[in-house]
């Protein structure tokens, strides 16, 4: 019996290790290449070779630092914008009954089914008319607007699950709707708000097409387009490029490290009824 249990454990661990190897292989290759010059890379792309070229990381930072700053600003502003507006509208949809609520809700949901690329031309024209082209603030607004529907959809269901008694008690104590949001909704939706924030941050961080089209100045460009430009070199400096990729991945790794607990909690929230 004990033997069978051990063999099951070994098999389980072997499977997990197998999956982990595949998951970490690209990361390993990226890090190893980031310390090579092209000659070392050509001779041995996969194994570490001496001497290590740490200067690639300096160059990588020079290449990507500016893009990263722009990306952090745009992603953070867009997350704040999305969550604030989505929370307010989700609260209204969850707590108030008004004429046309259902139709408005379904119209809002219909936007979920529209592929983003379809909107590029009208968006471009709107941004042009609003004089928001080539502006990081404009792009932040665009991202914030783009994420509202999904966040609103998730948050409405979550707020509806909060016991009505809590809101009624607050109202008896004279709490305004805004105070109800601050004192009841936000504390009780911490995990889902964190999850949505991470998802939105990831979406904004990785978005390629919109900065590509809406931003024209090099110093305002975001990280995905910046990395694509590195990749577009005719003769690539592989070490510098991989150092750049590694640096670009660091903010995401940090975010996951510090919010993993909330993220998993948010993902599983509502998975078990009752």
């Amino acid at each position: 019996m004990q033997k069978t249990k051990t063999s099951h454990e070994v098999a389980k661990h072997a499977l997990i290790l197998f999956v982990l190897v595949f998951a970490f292989l690209p990361l390993y290759v990226m890090l190893v290449i980031s310390l090579k010059d092209n000659t070392q890379f050509i001779r041995s792309p996969m194994l570490p070779t001496l001497p290590f070229h740490w200067e690639n990381w300096v160059k990588g930072w020079e290449l990507c630092g500016r893009y990263i700053a722009n990306s952090i600003l745009v992603a953070t502003l867009s997350v704040i914008g999305t969550l604030v507006t989505a929370l307010l509208s989700a609260y209204v949809f969850a707590r108030y009954h008004f004429p046309g609520r259902t139709i408005l809700w379904y119209l809002l949901l219909a936007l979920l089914f529209m592929p983003g690329v379809m909107n590029i031309v009208p968006l471009f024209l709107i941004m042009k008319n609003l004089n928001m082209l080539n502006s990081l603030w404009g792009l932040s607004v665009l991202y914030a607007v783009g994420g509202q529907v999904f966040c609103c959809f998730v948050l409405r269901n979550f707020i509806e699950e909060i016991p009505v008694d809590l809101f009624e008690a607050a109202m008896v104590d004279g709490a305004s709707p805004f105070q109800q949001i601050v004192n009841i909704v936000i504390p009780m939706s911490g995990s889902i708000l964190a999850t949505l924030a991470i998802l939105r941050f990831l979406g904004a961080w990785n978005n390629f097409i919109q900065p590509m089209i809406f931003i024209s100045d090099e110093y305002k460009q975001l990280i995905p387009v910046g990395l694509m430009r590195l990749d577009g070199e005719y003769v690539k400096q592989w070490g510098e490029m991989m150092a750049g990729y590694s640096i670009a991945a660091i903010p995401l790794v940090l975010i996951f490290l510090f919010t993993m607990r909330l993220f998993v909690k948010g993902l599983t929230a509502g998975a078990v009824k009752g």
Binding site: A69, L133, E218, L254, L257
Partner: protein, 543 residues
Amino acid sequence: MSKAKTFLSKYLGAAILVVAMIYAVVTVIYNDLTYDAPDVTTLRICHWQLEAGFREALQALIDDYEKVVRERTGEKVRILQVPISERAYRQYVNTGLIGDMAPDIIEKGFAKTATDPSYVARFFLPLGEHVVKPNPYNEGTSLEGVAWKETFFDGMQGAYDEQLLDYYYIPFSMFTVRIYYNKDLYREITKRDAPPVSYADFMDVCARIKAYGEEAGEPIVPLASSKAQGGYFTWKYQVPFWRELANRCDMDFDGNSTYFETYFGMRRGLWSFKSPALLATADCLMEIASNFPDGWLAAQRDDALFAFAQRRAVMIASGSWDAQSIIDQTKESFELGVFGFPMPTDHPEYSKYVKGPGSEAGSRGGIPWTINKKTPRADLCIDFLQYCTTAAGNEKFNTRITWLPVVRGVPIVDEKLKAFKPILHGYTGHFDYNISTAVSLLDQGNRWTIYAGQMTAEENANQLQEMYDRTARSGYLKKLDLQRRNNRNMERVVAAKIALRECVPELADEMDRKLVQLSQASQDVHHKYYVYKHLFEQLENAE
């Protein structure tokens, strides 16, 4: 300890986020203050030249220019490079021009908005009035007083748009294509130093390299390749193979055979797709392509360069634009050599058609810079381009990147570049049979199938002949109609210029000059249209 741990786990993430946000805000504000400062004039210049050394060479000119302007006028000018990869250049330029946010100076190419004459006229500044005046930066040099366009080796012929009748770009460099080779590996395999000079020799070397690779069990092939390399070989071999056909069909004695002329040539029985010269070209290119590595059709240009640098191929065809990149990549690994494309003048069959290499005397300046019509500082853009295209500026730029200069009097001092000097002897003559889109598409598609050895030259000829017979007549009429519409457009332009001359007296001189140019060009276009229309009708009636 546990308190500190709790504090860390609770607030470290937030602290990092706050620090990152502060860094981001400071960086963005700093960039805005640096580049958008009210007392700084910022010009943006975009290009797709991501070859090693290009940005540094351009930046060196930019740095010098910024200093010169500041010393001369006190104006703070900042020129920002916007390098965009080839893959995204089209979208970048198109959206930028349409959205009024394109850079001030744009490298012309790829995007329809930068190549189609109707868009070029809409978005870019015509430079005719500037290029006929001397470049002020040439004062005190041997080019002082010479019209700016005449300071270029080609008189800026390549920059002249025949449809728009004006000059639309300023070139920086010129390019030729050669074969680079790994001298060490070549010596080891062939036991000699000299590169192949004849086609037979070239094929023999390729065979020996293949045999060496097979014997040694190493994946060494003669020619590193991608579709780009396939294109270079096609370009270099078609002209000498087809020059006799071009001469045969040439009706206006300009040395070339346009699709109109080849159409009449076909109808008069002067050529067909089974003409021996065409079949021989396909056979020759198939022979060459048999020395490419497996999977070359799916490879990118940089994959081929990488294979060459990795010593997986002994030779690679590429342009002088790649010289610096290849030198940088290979300087620590092997000795690099360069030679011209060996022509099959010694081949029993091919020598019937090929008498020598194609001439490069008609080479035109490359790296074409155009000026965005919407730029608020066109004067500064022109001034910058003038600064860059003095003999000294052009030498500095091209020496740094190991490219060929375009300004007269700039010597080619770098030994490595001497192999890229244009071949001035040789043969010219383009033979264009792409009378219809269908023929053109089939030809482009079949080319790779033939090179890959999946189709014979005869099969290709049969397919093209069938397509040509089916679509050439309608294609001819469409092209004729296009010519008619060009006439009409030109007449509109003439009418507009006459009206402008009458309404704005201060533009009278400039309009007069334009009208003379237009009348000459429109005569030519009208003449061609009526001649080809008349010839076509005659041919139809006769049949």
